[in-house]
């Protein structure tokens, strides 16, 4: 187990280094430059380039950047004075994280429940309903879910606030929109897994021992069926947290996605660099934590490695 954890942490660190390097190179390859204002004279431009360190050789820029990262400094904006990436992240990331966690909790809990209910009612109308919802859910992009939810529940019927993120009522629609896809895929996986587990011999054994149906489902079936869901948790966390990009723009939530898209359009090099690196590191480590947790849960990995 120790070896497995060390290996996993090693790969994650290497991933982060590659990510940082790739992002650095790609950002320098971008067309256009951040000081393209026609009003700028060449001297001003030169001074700005020098100020932001763009006149130094690439390698030096790279090492400076890495050094700053080690100290937890993600850089500063080239577009807005006195705006640092750290500052921006402090303001915006809590919104994205909050939304992401809400969506994850909502989609995982509902997805599991729907999957279990669906499997327990295999073949009847309840099952059919959940299967149809699951098929639809995996076929609709989240921005369409978001736009449609907003139109009906907020604009037409006025049940929820239309936009922004100021209280519990504001969080409901965005969380549903963001979590819908994950919820349906979790319920699909859970249903299939439940149906597979129910044919296993240990369920027959439990049944022949006279254990009640409820206890069999709760103690034996669900515990064993939940494994495949845990496996997809890593990619799921990533997809929910990156999904916040569009959901934030639909519901005008001042989270990271909004600023990210803005700085991409502004060609704000250091801003893109800082945010991407932060986001990337966050996701890489989220994935790592899920994998290691999986190692603890799954006896096959715990013993083998």
């Amino acid at each position: 187990m120790g070896k497995y954890v060390v290996k996993r942490v090693g790969i994650s660190l290497l991933t982060v280094l590659v990510l940082v390097t790739v992002v650095f190179i790609l950002v320098r390859l971008m067309p256009g430059d951040p000081f393209s204002d026609p009003k700028m004279t060449p001297t001003v431009k030169e001074n700005l380039n020098a100020y932001y360190g763009l006149d130094k050789p690439l390698l030096q820029q790279y090492t400076t950047f890495l050094g700053n990262l080690m100290r937890g400094d993600f850089g500063y904006s080239m577009k807005y004075q006195n705006q640092t990436v750290n500052n921006l992240l402090r303001q915006s990331f809590p919104y994205s994280l909050d939304l992401g966690i809400r969506a994850l909790v909502l989609s995982l809990s509902l997805g599991l429940v729907f999957g279990i209910v669906s499997a327990r009612n295999r073949g009847n109308k309840i099952d059919l309903f959940f299967v149809v919802v699951a098929v639809i859910g995996t076929s609709v992009p989240d921005f369409i879910v978001g736009a449609i939810l907003q139109y009906f529940f907020a604009v037409k019927w006025g049940l929820f606030p239309i936009a922004q993120y100021k209280g519990l009522a504001h969080t409901i629609l965005p969380s549903i929109a963001l979590g819908f896809y994950t919820m349906t895929s979790v319920s699909r996986i859970m249903r299939a897994s439940m149906l597979e587990v129910v044919q296993q011999d240990y369920i027959k054994t439990a049944r022949s021992k006279g254990i009640s149906n409820f206890r069999i489902t709760w103690k034996h079936q669900i515990r064993n069926a939940i494994m495949p869901v845990v496996t997809v948790l890593g990619p799921t966390v990533a997809s929910v947290l990156t999904g916040t990009f569009v959901i934030e723009s639909i519901f005008a939530i001042p989270g990271m996605g909004k600023y990210y898209v803005e700085s991409v359009q502004n060609l704000d090099y250091s801003m893109i660099l800082g945010q991407t690196v932060f986001y990337g590191i966050f996701l890489v480590f989220a994935n790592m934590v899920v994998d290691i947790a999986y190692g603890f849960v799954d006896p096959r990995i715990r013993i083998a490695k």
Partner: protein
């Protein structure tokens, strides 16, 4: 046996006491079902699978419309008309018009060309690269395999969307950039999958047989292993296409996909979402086509998975 005479204590058992009940060598050896090639077999089962067949029909119809509908319309996809703005469905404009008076019927099918071809091409290139690399990696193993797998671990670790966005920013909007952006991150998945399957297949007897016969490694991979993986590869392709269509829609939605006035379904959905209060049909129409296409692919790939599964042979 029937000619032998068996004596017992009380009674002789003679051959005329026995009668053939209708089992002959010919019948035993006869092939009860027509011999079908792999593809005939798969086609037969796809046709029986209602959901998958409907999916296939929808996709064929959409493809045909995407190719021909813009040719036979009297409107151009970027032709604006100030007197026909934001109209809903009518005989003149079948899907209505957008906020610049452009005909949505034409824009949908021009957009379908972009969305569908990006889906097909990106998924296809991904699976070709992935299959070849994964095939060699799984078969040869050793250092090459180890290095490739570490590279894939790293690619897997980096959120694909972030790489997609950065590549789009660097290369600028367009179909080519979208495909490149998706291939850079996408091949790793099919590579890892193929490698796992090859690992399993290479230990089997028919591979050993052809190695004993002196076949080269390259030919073994191409002639023995890949044909055995064909079903799984195609199923994966059918699952990768909707994912690529989703991704294109997502990137276009945040303004990094296709540049206006060109259309893709993602661009149309974005334009529609912005106008949802004034003319909701501008969102519903592209949303309908994105959803039904992805749904059709999902149904088809489910059906394909069953159709190519040898364990399902003869169950229907």
């Amino acid at each position: 046996m029937a000619t032998n005479k068996i004596e017992s204590q009380d009674k002789a058992i003679t051959a005329d006491l026995f009668r053939t009940v209708g089992k002959s060598i010919e019948e035993m050896e006869a092939i009860s079902r027509p011999s079908l090639t792999f593809w005939q077999e798969a086609w037969l089962r796809i046709r029986k699978d209602k959901a998958a067949f409907i999916g296939l029909i929808i996709l064929i119809i959409y493809t045909i419309l995407a190719i021909f509908a813009p040719m036979f319309s009297s409107y151009e996809f970027d032709q604006q008309d100030a007197y026909a703005m934001r109209q809903t469905f009518s005989a003149e404009h079948w899907f209505g018009t957008d906020s610049l008076g452009r005909d949505l019927w034409v824009r949908i099918w021009v957009g379908a060309r972009v969305s569908l071809s990006i889906g097909f091409i990106a998924a296809f290139i991904n699976s070709v690269i992935g299959t070849i690399l994964g095939g060699f990696s799984g078969y040869i193993g050793g250092k090459f395999d180890m290095i490739l797998m570490r590279i894939i671990d790293i690619i897997y670790g980096i959120p694909a969307l972030i790489v997609n966005i950065l590549v789009m920013v660097v290369l600028g909007p367009g179909i080519k950039s979208l495909i490149i952006a998706m291939v850079i991150t996408g091949w790793a998945g099919s590579c890892r999958f193929t490698r796992g399957e090859v690992y399993r297949l290479k230990e089997q007897e028919f591979v050993l047989a052809s190695r004993v016969l002196g076949e080269s490694t390259f030919m073994i991979i191409v002639r023995e292993i890949i044909p055995n993986l064909m079903g799984l590869i195609i199923t994966n392709l059918a699952m990768a296409i909707p994912a690529a269509i989703f991704r294109e829609a997502f990137l276009s939605y945040i303004g990094l996909g296709i540049a206006p006035p060109n259309a893709s379904w993602g661009v149309l959905a974005k334009e529609g979402a912005a106008m949802i209060r004034l003319c909701p049909h501008m969102l519903y129409v592209p949303a309908f086509f994105i959803c039904t296409t992805v749904l059709a692919f999902n149904l088809l790939s489910n059906g394909l998975r069953d159709a190519f599964d040898p364990r399902m042979r003869g169950t229907d």
